[in-house]
């Protein structure tokens, strides 16, 4: 699935791919097609401020949001696990929520 996010005022095209399906839930990957620089510490703080579990390790952010396990890299790539329903649209929506939290705070 192709989608777009507006990041720092610029439109960044992204691709959403399915990794695994478990029937009702699934694992997905979001790949930005152009350069993004995500300040992971800021996103981390933003998620913690909203009561979510999150940690930064080895240059990536790990988080749990509504039972979805997420890993977000500084280049904007993300993997989301146990997305319900099992759809790329649902995964994309979660990605937008995570990324826009940082924008909200900025």
């Amino acid at each position: 699935m192709r989608a777009e996010i507006v990041w720092m005022g610029l439109s960044v095209p992204c691709v959403v791919l399915e990794l695994c399906s478990y029937g009702a839930s699934g694992d997905f990957q979001v790949l930005p097609m152009s350069m993004m620089e995500v300040p992971l510490e800021k996103v981390h703080s933003s998620l913690l401020a909203r009561g979510m579990k999150a940690a930064v390790t080895d240059g990536a952010l790990l988080a749990v949001m509504d039972d979805v396990q997420l890993i977000l890299n500084a280049d904007g790539r993300a993997v989301m696990e146990h997305v319900v329903p099992c759809s790329k649209q649902a995964a994309w929506y979660i990605y937008l929520k995570i990324m826009q939290m940082k924008l909200d705070q900025a």
Binding site: Y22, D58, G59, I71
Partner: protein, 391 residues
């Protein structure tokens, strides 16, 4: 010899696809740049040469598993080979098929699908270490028409005793199909000696290209297997009234249409290359690396390893987890941060993960092959040691 491997990269995903060897690449490129014609029944020299080259490739691939080339059918993959069997036997309501909980989807879904036709499909569980239990297997075979099982688990590397299982199934009167995708990749099986009814494997797991596979068929299987896909080359004659399937070569019945000529030539070249190696020595070295990897994983805090530990009953395919990380998180970090290519998830064997470990999400899988080194193993272990718990 494996030009795709970058100098700073660690490739530990050979269970998904082995790297393609230079001779295979050369033969595919040569086919398109110098030959580039169709095979079979062409009357000009180039087509005759291409046909001869394709049959040479068949002989080389057949030699890999020590069978006669007349019994070896090319396919596009192990999956398509197994589906040739599933779709080519005339199933009757009440027939029984026995398979196992260790299977890759390619040797699992085609059988489950047969339940829609009233076939009784029995799934034999494995023992806690990931081996098919011979007694349970035998008990399930009463009245079975076919037993379909893996040579080696693609998920946890456990090498099954295909000799014992084939004998048990044969004594029960069942046809035997073995998924050899991982078995051939890492071993040197004498399928001619064992003579199961069908043995399927892939070119892309034997240093060859994707889109290639092979299927050995016994005399017994040839007597019952109908071609499920028909087209050019299938029939010796046809008219509005019907058609006559080709008798010679009998394998032509199961290879309709224009084959993946370049791919098959690449597969053949990979088989020749493999035959030129000191395979016993090389696989012995890989087994040594496996031992080092297992030792290192056991010594790494927070790591859990799946599957039995007897090196003589394992392929160099290791699935593991690290506390604090999901499989995809771990796989992503190993790739992005440490340049280590592994695979994560259930590896198309969700039943194995659910029944053996209660882990539907699976694990990270690292698979070694002849082009890996102690340095690669060390890099993986160092990465896991430095990751620890997320802060």
């Amino acid at each position: 010899m494996f030009p795709s491997l970058g100098s700073d990269e660690v490739y530990l995903d050979s269970a998904a696809k082995t790297l393609t060897c230079q001779p295979s690449l050369d033969s595919m490129s040569e086919y398109y740049s110098k030959c580039d014609v169709n095979v079979d029944r062409g009357i000009y020299q180039r087509s005759i040469d291409a046909s001869i080259a394709l049959e040479d490739a068949r002989s080389a691939v057949a030699k890999m598993i020590r069978v006669q080339p007349e019994r070896l059918v090319f396919s596009s993959s192990t999956t398509s080979a197994i589906n040739t069997i599933a779709g080519g036997i005339c199933w009757r309501r009440g027939d029984r098929v026995v398979t196992t909980a260790l299977e890759h989807h390619s040797n699992f879904l085609p059988w489950l699908k047969l339940r829609e036709a009233g076939v009784d499909v029995v799934v034999v569980p494995s023992d806690p270490e990931g081996y098919i239990d011979p007694d349970q297997f035998e008990a399930s075979l009463a009245g079975a028409r076919l037993a379909a099982f893996t040579h080696a688990s693609n998920a946890i590397g456990t090498l099954q005793d295909i000799t014992a299982l084939t004998l048990i199934a044969r004594q029960a009167g069942a046809l035997v199909l073995i998924d050899g995708a991982q078995g051939v990749s890492h071993g040197d099986p004498d399928i001619g000696g064992l003579d199961p009814d069908a043995y399927a494997f892939s070119g892309h797991k034997c240093f060859g290209p994707t889109g290639t596979g092979a299927l050995y068929l016994s005399e017994r299987m040839l007597n019952v297997l109908e071609p499920s896909v028909l087209g050019g080359g299938s029939a010796s004659d046809s008219s509005a009234e019907g058609f006559t399937l080709r008798e010679e070569p009998v394998t032509a019945r199961y290879e309709p249409g224009t084959p993946n000529i370049a791919g098959i030539l690449g597969f053949g070249a990979a088989a020749h290359y493999r035959a030129s190696l000191d395979w016993k020595n090389l696989t012995g070295e890989v087994s040594r690396l496996l031992g080092l990897l297992l030792e290192g994983l056991d010594a790494t805090p927070g790591v859990v390893v799946f599957g039995g530990r007897d090196l003589s009953r394992r392929t160099p395919v290791v699935s593991f987890g690290l506390k604090g990380y999901t499989p995809h998180q771990l796989g992503t970090l190993l790739g992005c941060r440490y340049g280590i290519m592994v695979r994560s998830g259930h590896h198309c064997a969700p039943t194995l993960w659910k029944t053996l470990y209660g882990r539907p999400e699976g694990a990270v899988r690292a698979s070694l092959h002849v082009y890996n080194s102690v340095g690669d193993v060390d890099r993986l272990l160092n990465a896991l040691n430095s990751m620890g718990m997320p802060r």
